[in-house]
Symmetry: C2
Subunit: 487 residues, 2 copies
């Protein structure tokens, strides 16, 4: 068994927030930490967490981001800004702004919908404004599911909508399923509509460049892979350190500062489940309650590679609407077999247009419960999506079967268990952030134990830049607490 490790600060989790925390602790101009005072433990045998650029699975020689793929809030995104400044990212070469202006297909329409002529986006925007007004009028109004508020809108403004608008615009709101990774019978309408600080910038370079940049400044011997944390003693007495961390392989780490960046889904596990963390004393009631009032989505990806392109090479993305179903609440039920075609809407990213190549590849976004199904049964993915993708065929081209299917595997990964924070109807998305961000004196009574990650921030919640900034935030807190920098 390894010798115990004694350090000033230990970081749990090697995603972007943990790596940024480590990087800041080591490289801040006023930091007094050396690399040997720090250690990062990662449960998996790879780093990057929910940034995962797959360079190996393609049969066309391509790379795919199976996790994060966009710079969101591009006007204020710090990771983007820094990457442009240090020249590791060139927007015109490495990026693609793909917002809106997209072809939309539906099962009952031979051709793409006449989005502009029918003003479908404008009505969808009205629904979003209606949702805002609905809750603005009365702040304590009871939350309802997205699918329900859409029905209220449609009933209230029935005489102002065309037949096409009535048919499609509610279903268009299901695009939010591909933000949150859950179906609209679960999505909280109260918290569904986000304000974005600028367009979304698709990252063609592969998001691992951000991870690699951080790793290039972190000594590899201070990063321990395959070290899944199982136990944390918040009030350790031995070895002159305030915290004891134990890993599944028996490794003990004694430290004074602990930055916990495991996903929300891991924090929410009961200590006796196989990948949960046992805290001594247990996590306080306020944190546990906050964890019970928020959920975790399952945004996934399915990538089909083909011999040749049978769709338009020049359209960057395609949106395929779902059909109306008799009972929306059935949508979120776990799938025992492949769903009916057009049950779940999807976005298809057209590699040829986004990357300016002639490679025949379509990357589709999936939501829970479809994500769980296709991640466990990748071989069934094409039979579900084929009828939907066939809508994209042009010039009577033959819809060929894929030569390769790649799926993400987040829901089967016991250290990730999904994608990121998702607000179900009735959830409180702010309480957990209040408890974990450490900004308001809440959370644990031991202030030397900190939390970072996409689930601990409002600004960039669920995003790479949010996770990144949260890691920096906690590192700066530690540096202040040690007196290295002023508060």
């Amino acid at each position: 068994m390894s010798q115990p490790i004694e350090v000033d600060a230990c970081i749990v989790g090697g995603g972007v927030s943990g790596l940024k925390a480590f990087h800041t602790l080591l490289h801040h101009s006023q930091s007094k930490f050396n690399a040997e005072n720090l250690v990062l433990v990662e449960a998996q045998n790879r780093l990057g967490g929910r940034i995962h650029t797959d360079h190996k699975s393609s049969k066309l020689g391509l790379s795919y981001d199976l996790g994060a793929a966009w710079f969101h809030d591009s006007l204020t995104n710090v990771v983007l800004k820094e990457s442009i400044e240090d020249k590791s990212f060139n927007v015109s070469k490495d990026g693609y702004y793909d917002d809106k202006d997209i072809k939309v297909y539906a099962s009952d329409s031979e051709k793409p919908l006449e989005i502009n002529q029918a003003k479908l986006h404008r009505v969808a925007e009205d629904i979003e404004k209606f949702i805002e007004l609905y809750f603005f009028e009365e702040l304590d109004k009871e939350d309802i599911a997205l699918c329900e508020i859409v029905e209220i809108f449609k009933a209230k403004y029935d005489d102002r909508l065309t037949e096409d608008q009535k048919r499609y615009c509610g279903l268009m709101l299901r695009y939010l399923e591909l933000w949150y990774g859950i179906t609209w019978d679960k999505i909280s309408s109260k918290f569904a509509i986000m304000a974005h600080q600028g367009r979304n910038l698709y990252n063609k370079k592969g998001y691992d460049f951000v991870i690699n940049k951080l790793l290039s400044k972190i000594p590899s011997d201070r990063v321990l892979l395959d070290h899944a944390v199982t136990f944390i003693d918040r009030n350790n007495k031995g070895h002159g350190k305030r915290v004891l961390v134990e890993c599944a392989n028996g490794q003990q780490i004694f430290c004074n500062y602990l930055v916990v960046t495991v996903p929300q889904s891991i924090l929410a596990l009961s200590p006796d489940s196989s990948h949960g963390i046992t805290w001594t004393p247990p996590l306080p009631k306020n944190v546990c309650e906050a964890l019970s009032k928020i959920h975790f989505g399952a945004l996934g990806k399915v990538i089909f590679e083909f011999d040749a392109i049978w769709w338009s090479e020049s359209e960057d993305r395609f949106e395929i609407l779902a059909d109306q179903v008799p009972n929306n609440s059935s949508l979120s039920a776990p799938l025992k077999g492949p769903p009916e075609k057009f049950t779940f809407p999807t976005f298809a990213i057209n590699y040829s247009a986004m990357h300016g190549s002639s490679k025949a590849s379509l990357a589709l976004l999936t939501q829970s419960p479809l994500t769980e199904y296709v991640e466990s049964h990748p071989e069934k993915a094409w039979s579900y999506f084929k009828p939907m993708l066939s809508k994209l065929a042009i010039d009577n081209k033959h819809v060929s079967d894929p030569i390769n299917t790649i799926t993400s595997n987040w829901t089967n990964n016991p250290y990730i268990r999904g994608s990121y924070t998702a607000v179900h109807t009735g959830d409180d998305p702010l309480d957990l952030i209040t408890q974990l961000s450490g900004e308001h004196g809440c959370g644990l009574s031991e202030k030397n134990i900190r939390f970072a990650g996409e689930h601990t921030t409002i600004d960039g919640s669920g995003c790479v830049h949010g996770a990144y900034m949260s890691g920096e935030r906690e590192a700066l807190w530690v540096l202040k607490d040690t007196g290295a920098i002023s508060g």
Copy 2:
């Protein structure tokens, strides 16, 4: 000379706010006023104010709204809601939602711009978001003109924009000139970006239906046309009434309550100017200062009628961008002759598509100083607009000269003098509303003198529904003050 009139309440101004105030005072279920207790005086020989549906000028048998033409904030618009409920307005028959999704032309492009492919709207939205963030970061930040902040955006994000986006997206922001009726060298960027509560609904029916509906419930002998108010004694002692109003024709009106709904432009006139109102005692300093910190725009309309349609019949509106000019600040200088083509951007409303007819009519929006010029020289309008409108010609059709030109005449109307409130760079748009809306105990010390109109409200500022609600607001205040309804 007429006998003095003695009433409980006098309303000055027969636009929508004054008429709604009268209507509410007379018809509120708990009102004790009879028609003979009330009088409304109007300076002009017509009612409606800046609602003016012209049924006479067309050579094609059409009617045109020379003033207000849209229901804005259609999700919350009270006038629209009431008109749908009382069946005086049928959205599918009488309305047309014309937001966005519009063809855009520029002088250097043979065909309409590839708005979607070039993602021009998306970048224009980013500029608006940038403006919001620019002032949000620092609330006391000095205001700058819209044309200036666009340059800051372009410089800051130069490496993220395509050549087409750099060329056109700043100029696209000049669409705001056709909201405010002033050029972008004057437009306050701090207050330029509005939140809309739903789409804009173009009113095909003619906005005078709202006026006529109110008039049908107001005895015509209680409405005095050609009665321009010249003098108001705030502290009258005679006739047992608290206020004396005198008109240019010598008519005296003694009243206890006065609701002043004259345009902001009239309030801002000095008492010794020919159409100003002399107040005794003069308007207090706080009101005069507030009036000096806000401006009045000049949105105008030019309507061309033709023998035949040589543009697309099916596009509802066309946007024609202006050219870049070397010196933006020259844009607002009064015009001594017709401007260079493509100096000012315009929107053209295509009657055939909006009304579903085959009538050859284009209605263009103009901003100051072009409005003043074309309203004084309607015969010069075509020579300015012809090169711009020629861009719309399709299928090699001949661009014929109009058979009829109709312009609004707001800037030459001494009782109107423009369109509505416009916020210049450095203005304070809220102070006047605070002073005049009476909600905060500011304004005049005589609380029985009230103000209504589009310039007295945040909610629906500059709009028909804002004016309408402000008239109702003041009538309800009077009813409360008389004890007819509870406070």
